[in-house]
Each structure stands twice: as structure tokens, then as C-alpha cells.
Amino acid sequence: MKLTLRSFFRLPSRFGLLAQLLAGFAAGGLFVTVLMVVGNSMLQHTSLRLVTMLEEHVHPLAQLHQLQSRIAALRNLELELATQRDVFVVQDHVARMRSELSGVDVDVHEFATRLARRSSDSAIRLIGHWQEYHRRLAQQIRLADEMDIAAVARVTTSGSHLPFTAVQELLAEVAANTGAAADQAYQETVDRQGDQRKHFLILVMLGGAVIVAGLAYSGRMVVRRIRVLHSHAYKLAQGEDSGVVAISGHDEIGDLATAFTGMREQVLGREAALRAARLELEDRVEARTRDLRQANGQLVLFSQVVEQNPLGILIANIDGRIDYANDAYLRITGQPVSTLLGQPLTAAVQGGEPVDMAAAIAETLSGTGAWAVERQGRRADGSTYWERIHLALVHDQQGASAHLLLSREDISERHAQQEKIAYQAHYDSLTALPNRALAQDRLLQTMEHCHRENCKAAALFLDLDNFKQINDTLGHATGDELLRQAATRLKTVVRNEDTVARLGGDEFLIIISDLVHGDDVNVVAEKIRAAFATPFRVDDRELVTSPSIGIAIYPEDGSEPTMLLRNADLAMYEAKEAGRNTYRFFSGAMNVNALERLNLLGQLRGALDRGEMALYFQPQINLKTGRLVGVETLIRWHHPEMGLVLPGRFIPLAEESGLMLSIGSWVLREACRQAAAWQRAGLPPIVTAVNLSTVQFRSPDFFDVVEGALKDSGLDPAYLELELTESILIRDTEPVLERARQLKALGVLLSIDDFGTGYSSLSYLKRFPVDKLKIDQSFVRNMDTDTEDAALVHAIIHMARSLGLKTIAEGVETENVLRQLCDCHCDEAQGYFLGRPMPAANFVSYQQDQRTAAGLTLPPSGGHLARIA
């Protein structure tokens, strides 16, 4: 059986909360009463001890100190008396002294009486000392009464000092003893009080602990059950079933738990029924809400689609009366909505190209489908635009025709775009001339026209001479401007009905129709040449170009536009071959030449692999020493069938076909290899010059090619000279400059080939790290007969010297020329007079001859040059 407080104390089975509370208060009050009784007892005891200590120690000590003070004051009066001089003052002083002495005497005896209780010996000694001091003072008073101040002073200094000191010392001793006793008593009191306080605190803590434990127990019993009830009630309020309330007790809380349990069962039953009903209702509401939300969403969506639709939308009833127009309709057509509502649909499309709206409505209503049209509309303000009108039938949910939907879309931008595309497809954007496609169409139309009219037509294929050089040298912007001006000039020399088209690059096509004779086109060709006679002016620069024109005649030179164009092209090449700035009519032989060029190109593609290419070396002589200082590397193509093919034939083909990079790299590697081989063979080291093409120099891996050639051959870079053309240096200045600096850093020499033939200024000479200028042979060759050429050569040499550059003259073919070059201090020279290009094998013997003969003997001006080799 579980033992509880209630059973232990045999308490009644039902012990209500009020009874528990009263019992708790009673216990607490009883405890506080006990504390007060005990505390009061302690305080009384402490107070009694303090009173005892006060009477036994403190009061005697205070009296002692007072006595000491009074005796000391008496001593002061005594000392002062001896210093007084005024008789009346002495009299007064003695009176005070006498009075004070009497009072102190009483105090001393009273104190001695009390002292005797504790220390009779001290009391006897005190009385003895005091009586001696009292006697001395009385003696002084008597002497003062007699006005014998001198005697008073004597007593003060010799007679009273010792007894006074004895009294004070004794009092000090007593004071010390009394103080010590007081301290001891005080300490005992404090200790006793501390013990009492400790016991009291223990009692308080024990009692407090009992009360706290009781309160905690009661509180826990009440609070715990109330919390359980609260938890159940809370869960019940939240709709949860927390189960049966497990609360015991025979008090009000127990009753409450029982009642709560009954209430819970009722609540749970009702709640289950309500929950089921609510769930059903919520399902219905949710479904209905979902339908409405969906319908409403669609409605809003459709409404917004219509209202915000970029298309102008009109909705009319089945009778064709307008019910609605959106904002875009106003924006597109300029027609206010207010003027449209209620109006017939046919009125809405008035303005602009006429539309049979009534028929469209009838067609739509007949169910044949939607009706649409694109037209140029006109707004109320007179502005026009392109629009697409679309009419459709709207059915209701039952499928019956309900409304007519007219939409109008502004397609002006799209229409313009289409026109622009069409224009760009047929016209050249740079010159605004018909492009190749339109030209071919025009040519076809012209040919068809002439076929119908039995007349002739001519196709003039025109190419600008030197345009590529201008474009490479001065840039695309300059080239484009030159093309625009050339197109303008071309249009001025033909009739309006004739066509001037640009086929691409610097190629133009001019179509002349309605010719009676093919030769009639000569006039046009001449006009064209004449039109180009005047230099073009681009960016304050005068540019000279000329037309090379190939002419093909319909129907003799071709019945198809393609053939006619190709033949005109071939004729244009003939004009080029003929020296440019001229025109040629197509002939059958031209066709043969074209085939030959194609064949040559095919052969060139495998020439390197077949080992048909070879290097020739032309000597370069120092004009001061007459010694061989270098060679220029030249390429030769030995074709097994065509024989020796000169560079002038295959180099343009190589450049046009992209073979130039591989050929150039081969030349560079082979030249380095050969030069290194000569040096290894013991020949004196000389500089090997290699020509570079523009394509080759611009190649991204060109530096690696040079570095690889040097590394592979082992040739010292100082013996490799790269010959650049002016066109290389002038274009893309910074990248070219950087490339040139890299090459210089590698240690190779740089020279400018064909110097003097370029277009650009000489300012780049100051910026580029070139070592040598190679004067073009066109100036050198005739300088002994042409004073202008001679002057130019002189100027170039002078300029080069002032810039610290070496000069080499090429094309030296006569002694006179050589002499002039020596006279004007040209550094080096090359040419047939000094040595023809020769294979590597021949060059070895040439160089050996040079060594044997110690070079050329260069005579002074006017002398003869002895040619050894």
C-alpha cells in the first residue's frame, strides 16, 4: 500500500484546496513565530552583554580619559600661571586653578574608588601620586595668592612635574589595562553573537527549507494537475483528442478532471459530426471556386488579350454593326472608337486602297472561311501605312454565328523590311549599283529584249588597274571611296536605259542594249577610259587608276548570260595583259589562254612536292671594297614539260591561289639551309637576302617560320636579310612595327625592296628598324641616261645616309651606272653587270673566283671597272 502524507497523518479522504492552503499558512505562521521568539531572545541576550560591557569597561575607560584630560588641563593652568605677569590676571588664574583642582580631586577619588574593585594596588598608587601632585598645586596656588610668581615658577618646573607624570603614567597604565579588558570583552561578545547568529541562520534555513519543500510539493501537486488539465483543454480546443484525463485526487481539481472527461466526450462527438459536414461543404465550395476562378481567369485573359492585342480589333454583331474596338485599333487606323460604335463594319475600312467589305462579310458569313487582304491604308490625318485586314466569324458556345471579328495589323515595318531585303538582294550597298544577281537578271532581260528586237547587246567587264595595290597600301576606306567615285563616273558615261553594275571587288559590268553593230560599243569604252583619265581625289590625296575592259557581244560571244560574262572577263584579262588602261573584245583565242592559266595553276600546286622549284642566287657587291657581301635569293620553276617558268608567270597565280605561303616558307628554309651549308663548306660568310610577300609577312606564324628556318639550318641570324616591300610596312602600322621589332630582336637584317615605287610617305623609315634600302631597278637601270632617275637615286642615297641606312642598287647592267653609283656613295649594288642569278652549285665556283680575284676593282670616277667574273 502506498504511503502518502494524507494516510500518514490520517487526514480525511477529501482534503480541499482551501483546507490545504490554510494548513500551509498555519505552518508558516507557526514557523515565523518560533523565529521571532528565538530572535528576540538572542537580541535580549546580546543587549544584556553590551550593557554589561558598557558599564564594566567603556564607562570606566571614558571616565579615565576624561580624568586624564582634566589633569592635563590642570597642568596647563599650572604652566600658564608661571607665565602670568599681570597681578589681576594672576588672581583670576588662581581662582580658576583652585576651582579646577577641587573638581579634579573629587573625580580622582571617585575613580580610585571604582578602580579599587578591580585593582586595589593601582588605586592606592593613584591616590598616592595624586596627593603629591595636589600638594604641589596647592602650594602654587598659595604662592600665587601671595603674588610670589617666581616661586610659582620654581614649583612648576621642579616640584610638580614628577608627581604629574606619575599620575599620568599610572592613568595610562590603567587605561591600557582597561582597554585590553574592554577589547577582550568585546571580542567575547562578538564571538557569542556570531554563534547565536549562526544558530539562528541554521534555524531559518531549516525552517525555510521545510516551507519551500511544502510549498513545492503542494504547488507541484496543484500545478501539475492544472497543467494536465490545461494541456487537455488546449488540445481539445485545437480539435485534438488527447485521450482520457489521468488526474487523481480528492479535491476540486479531481472533480474538475472528472467533469472535463465528460465534456470531452460530448465535444468530440459533436466535433466529428461538424468536421464531416464541414469537409463536404469545403469540397463543394472548393470545386465551385475552382470553376469560377478558371472561368474568370479565362475571361480576364481573353479580355486582356483583346484589349492589349497589338492588332486593331473590331467586334461587330452578326448584322455588321460595330460593338467594340480596342485601343490598338485607334492607334493603327486613327479612327476614334466613339465614332465607330454602332456603325456598319463596311464603314470601318474606308480610306486607303478600296476593299469590298460587303463581299468579304458575305463570304465570311457563308462559312467558307476567314477573309484577309493586305493593302495600303490611309489614316484620317492623311498618312499612309501598310496593313493586313482579317475578317473572321465568331461562334457562341452552341456553335451559332455570334459576332464578326475584324482585325487590322500595321505591317508597314515588315513591308519596308521586305523592300529593303529585296533592294539589298539586287543592289550593291557601297555604290548603290545593281549587284551581280540583278546584273545577271538585267543581262538576261537585255538579251531577251535583243532577241525579240533582233538587235545586239554588249557586256563590258571592267576591272580597275592597281586597285589592289591602292587598297592594300592606303586601306579599305580609301579603296571603298575610290570605288564609289568610279561608279559615279561610270554612270555618267552611259545612257539611262543602260545598266552599270558592280560584280564585286573592283569589277564592274556595264550592259549596253539596242546596238546595231558590235563596234558601236567602242565609243562607250573610250568614254570610260576618258572618264578615268582624271585622277581621283580621296582624303586630299590624288589617286590614279585606269580601267581594263573586256567586251563580249550578244549574240555572237554567247547566248547565255553566264557565258557572255565569262567571255567578257577573259577579254578583260587580255586587256590587262595588253598593258592595262585599254579594252579588248572577246575572241576565240582568249578562251585558249584562260585554259592555259588553269593548267598552269594545276601544275603549280604540286611543283614543290615534285622538286621542280629551285633557288638562284644573285651576287651583291660592296661598292667600296668590291667584295661579295651578299646574295639575293630568287626562285625558279623548272617544269618538266613547260621548261623554265619565270616568277612573273606563277607568282601572281600563287598569290591568288594561296600557294604563296607554302612557297615562301620553302624559299626561306632553303635559303637558310644553303647559306649555312656554304659557311660550313668554308666559304666566307655573306648575307642571304630573301624576298617576302605581303601575305607571307602577315601570316600569324611567320615569326615562327623564320625562327624555325634559322634554328633548323644553324645560320647566324645576322646573315639573313628579309626584303620587305613598302606596301607591307605602310599598312597596319602597329602590328607590322611589332613584327619588325621581333625580327630585329631575333638578329636578322631588314631591308626595303623596290624602294621608291610606293605611294606612302617616307616617315615610316624613322620608325621601322630597317637596315638597308634597295633602290628599285626602274630608277637605276637608266640613271646614266635619265637625269631624273639619277637625281632620284642620289636623293635616295643621301636620305638613307642621313638616316643611317645602307643602300643597295639593283638592276645595275652597265659600267656607267656602276660608276655613278660609286660616285654618289651607294653602299652596294647588284645586277647583271655584276653577276646574274645562278644556281647554288654555280655560285660556289663564282664565290671561289671572287676570293681568288679578291673581288672587283672599283676604279675612281672616270676610270674603268675591271670585271673579273
Binding site: R85, D86, V87, Q91, D92, A95, R142, D145, E146
Partner: protein
């Protein structure tokens, strides 16, 4: 306090019956002063936290404020007005007042008053006396002793009596009454040695009892360099009836005359019967009085305070001395006597004090007939009787002896104004003291001393302005004609 008030009442009735004049009832003056203070505070004329600043010479505080300052405590309790008392040096009141401008109330000797008034350092209290209904006529039975003589100049009352000091001569009564001595004296002078009536008789007694070999000097009068004038002036003033003035109407000194020479010769004749050090510097009353007290001198002079000393327990002459009336000169068969206040203190209200009216009221409260009993003749006090009823107070008689007090009271009947009475009094008297001392030393003849003194006085007068001095002198001379109440038996 109740007992004192009852006794005073008895005295008042007795004195009133005797004289028919009553100044105030004892204690009334104090009550009037307290009422006045309260009215001042109530009117806002004086703040409740006001402080009265007092200045007393060394050893005088208890004399004025009572044992244990009981009167100060009583005043502060009654009025709420605090008192701050301090000690000032033993020097002229003129110097003290100049050096301490914050003082409200202090003490001055009667002969110093002309200088204080001249320099406007003290207040005339007559307006305040009238305002608050105080009387200062010196009436019986308990009025001030000759208040105008002690504190007035003309119509102005500039001081309030608070210490009645007048010159008193003392003789050895036991020797006078000794039959052997009487016989011996009679043998020489043909008469019995008795209380001297003239200076000649006084000098004969002194000469007779001068026996230095026996340790007895004829006389122990002060003859040091300062203060000689106090014992010379009675000798001079009595040279003519009713008195011999120091200056004529034009401030011309009258001392360079037979009267002056006679007075001086009388003054210096006692030197030969004095102790050898009598002329030494600093040998003042503290030198001479113990000699008399120890029985080493036949005669001496001081104030009534000396009687208290001689009557003390340790005195060798207790019961053996007698105070005598001031000797005089026989002028045509009539003895002309003259006495002057010396040493005595009067209360003066500083004109520069912040609480002048309060100081005046305090002085009146302090010197009230009832309150003054607490300060006169008490242990540790210097204050001598200054009201008529003091001389009848048994406790005071016990201290001073009734005989001495009787002589003291009578002497006020022949008292004349003290000092020169003109501004520069201390300067005049200092010159006189120096020449008297030189004459006493024998360095100058009496005639020469007077001649030189007169000449010096003339210079002082000239320097200070004769007209001004004459004006002050005329004012002072009115004090010689005062008719103030005296005890009936002595009233002329």
C-alpha cells in the same frame, strides 16, 4: 536670576526712598533692549542671522560676557542674534578701531574718547537712547556711576560705562594704628599718624614708614615711564579751586607754572621712599601691588581692583590695609581734592561696524542693572563696580571690603574729567609721562620738566591745529561742570 531680581528690587526701593530719584527698575533696561532688537528684526532692519562682533582686550572677555560666557549665551538665546567675540592687543582704542573696521563694539578709556570722536570712529548713542527710551543720567539707586563724566563730550554720549575705575590710594592701616608707630610719628611730626588729607601729610607718612632695611618701603606708587600722569594729574588738578586746568582758553599749557612745578615736585618726592627699581621700565602696577600685598610697602595706589587683590586669601595685608580718599591741597583753609578715572573701560560703538544699533542695544542689555551683577566682582573677572548699587552688593563688598567701596563711591564726588580732553590726548600724555620720568630720575628739575612738557604740548597743538584743539577743549571743559547724581551723603 529670580533671587537677584528680588534683591535688586529691595535695593531700588531703599535707594529710591533715600534719594527720591529712580532711573530704571533693575532689569527694565535689559527688557527694553531685547524688545528693541525684536522690533528691528521684525521690521527687517536687522536680519535674523546678524552677528555682533565684539573686541575685548586680553583677559577681558569673561569680565564682560560673564563666567563661561553665560551672558553671551543668554543674549543669543533671547534674541537669536549671535555674538562673535575676539581678543585684541593691549593697545590704544584708537589703534584697535582703525585696525579692525569690522568691529561693532569694543572698549575704550575715558581719556581716549576725544580722539575717537575726533576721528569719527565711535557713534554718539544719544539718538538711540532717545529712540528706545533709555536714560543715562546716573541716577540712584542703580544708575551708572557718573556716565557723562566717563563717556560724554559735550552733548554727545560716546561711551557707556562698564568698569568703574578711579584712582585709589591704599595705606597700611595696621601700622597707622600701631601705638608704637603712632608714638614715634607723633614724636617727629607732633601729631598722630592718620588718614592724610593733604599731599603733605601723605608724604610725611611715607617718609616715616620708609624702612628699606626692614623690608618696608615708604611707598610703591608707579613711577615708570608710562602712566605717571594718572598719579600726577590729581596732584595738579587740586592745585587750585575748583581745579587747576591744563590749558587756558587758547590751548596754552598752564603746567609751566608754580602749580605745575608743585604738582611735579610732589610727584617725584616719593621716589626716594620707593623701591630701588621703581623707575625701571615695565615696573607698573604688577610690580608695585605685590609689594604692598606682601607687606613690603606702606602705601600704594591703583584702582578699587587693588582692594580685591589685597583682600584675597594669600594677601599679607588682608585686614591690614585701608583705602583712603585722594589727598588734596589746602587752599585758603579748604582742602581741595581732585580725582580722575583711570584704566577703566567704557563700551564704544564703532562707527564702521555693520551692526551698530545692535551693538548699542547689546551694550545696554549687558550693562543693565540686573545683568551687570553677573559681571562685576566675579571670579576670573576684571570688571569693577560701575553702577551705584554695585557698591552695596554684599558679594562685592566681601571681595573689595565695604570700607574700600565706600571710599570708592565717595571719590566719584571729586572726580574730574580724565586726560587732556583734546584730540592727541595720548600724545600729550606721553610727553608728560616722559618728562615726569626724567624728573623722577633727577635728570630734569620739576620746573624744567614742566617747561619742556609745555613746549612740546605747544608743538603738538600747533601741528594738530590750534583752532581745532581749542574747539575740542571747550567741548571737553563742559565736562568739568557736570552736575551728575551722587550718593546723597557725598553730593555737594
Amino acid at each position: 536670576m529670580g533671587r537677584l531680581r528680588w534683591m535688586s528690587g529691595v535695593m531700588v526701593v531703599a535707594m529710591a526712598a533715600m534719594t527720591g530719584v529712580s532711573e530704571t527698575l533693575a532689569g527694565e533696561q535689559a527688557d527694553r533692549a531685547l524688545a528693541a532688537v525684536k522690533s528691528l528684526v521684525a521690521a527687517g532692519e536687522v536680519k535674523g542671522d546678524a552677528v555682533i562682533k565684539l573686541a575685548f582686550k586680553s583677559g577681558n572677555i569673561n569680565s564682560f560676557l560673564g563666567p563661561d560666557l553665560e551672558l553671551q549665551k543668554e543674549w543669543e538665546k533671547r534674541t537669536g542674534i549671535m555674538i562673535r567675540a575676539r581678543v585684541i592687543p593691549q593697545q590704544a582704542a584708537l589703534v584697535n578701531l582703525k585696525n579692525n573696521p569690522d568691529i561693532d563694539l569694543t572698549v575704550a578709556r575715558s581719556n581716549e574718547l576725544p580722539d575717537l570722536l575726533d576721528q569719527r570712529l565711535v557713534e554718539d548713542v544719544v539718538p538711540w537712547l532717545k529712540q528706545y527710551g533709555f536714560a543715562m543720567t546716573g541716577g540712584l539707586p542703580d544708575g551708572y556711576i557718573r556716565p557723562r563724566l566717563q563717556g560724554a563730550l559735550g552733548d554727545r554720549q560716546v561711551a557707556i560705562p562698564s568698569d568703574g575705575d578711579i584712582a585709589i590710594f591704599y595705606l597700611r592701616q595696621d601700622l597707622l594704628e600701631n601705638p608704637v608707630e603712632q608714638a614715634a610719628f607723633h614724636k617727629i611730626y607732633g601729631r598722630k599718624p592718620d588718614i592724610p588729607r593733604t599731599w603733605q601729610e601723605y608724604e610725611q607718612l611715607v617718609a616715616f614708614f620708609h624702612r628699606p632695611a626692614q623690608g618696608l618701603y615708604g611707598v610703591a606708587e608707579e613711577r615708570d615711564e608710562s602712566g605717571g600722569w594718572m598719579y600726577w594729574l590729581p596732584r595738579y588738578l587740586s592745585q587750585a579751586a575748583p581745579y587747576r586746568p591744563l590749558f587756558d582758553e587758547g590751548m596754552k599749557p598752564l603746567i609751566d607754572s608754580p602749580a605745575g612745578v608743585a604738582a611735579t615736585e610732589s610727584y617725584i618726592r616719593t621716589v626716594r621712599y620707593s623701591p630701588p627699581e621703581i623707575l625701571a621700565d615695565g615696573k607698573d602696577y604688577s610690580y608695585v601691588l605685590p609689594l604692598f600685598m606682601q607687606g613690603k610697602a606702606f602705601a600704594t595706589a591703583n584702582t578699587i581692583a587693588a582692594a580685591k587683590l589685597f583682600n584675597a586669601a594669600g594677601s599679607a595685608v588682608r585686614g591690614k590695609f585701608v583705602a583712603i580718599p585722594m589727598p588734596g591741597h589746602n587752599q585758603g583753609g579748604k582742602i581741595v581734592r581732585a580725582n580722575v578715572p583711570i584704566y577703566g573701560n567704557t563700551l564704544v560703538v564703532s562707527s564702521r561696524g555693520a551692526q551698530r544699533k545692535l551693538a548699542f542695544l547689546f551694550a545696554m542689555w549687558l550693562t543693565d542693572a540686573d545683568n551687570s551683577i553677573h559681571t562685576v566682582g566675579v571670579k576670573g573677572g576684571h570688571t569693577d563696580p560701575y553702577r551705584w548699587h554695585h557698591v552695596k552688593e554684599p558679594r562685592i563688598e566681601e571681595l573689595y571690603t565695604a570700607a574700600a567701596l565706600k571710599v570708592f563711591a565717595d571719590e566719584w564726588g571729586v572726580a574730574l574729567p580724565s586726560g587732556t580732553g583734546v584730540p592727541g590726548d595720548s600724545e600729550y600724555l606721553e610727553v608728560l609721562d616722559q618728562h615726569l620720568w626724567l624728573a623722577a630720575r633727577g635728570d630734569l628739575s620739576a620746573a624744567e620738566a614742566m617747561h619742556r612738557t609745555a613746549a612740546a604740548w605747544e608743538k603738538i597743538t600747533g601741528r594738530r591745529g590750534r583752532d581745532k584743539q581749542i574747539k575740542a577743549l571747550h567741548l571737553f571743559n563742559t565736562n568739568f561742570t557736570l552736575k551728575e547724581p551722587l550718593p546723597g551723603r557725598l553730593n555737594p
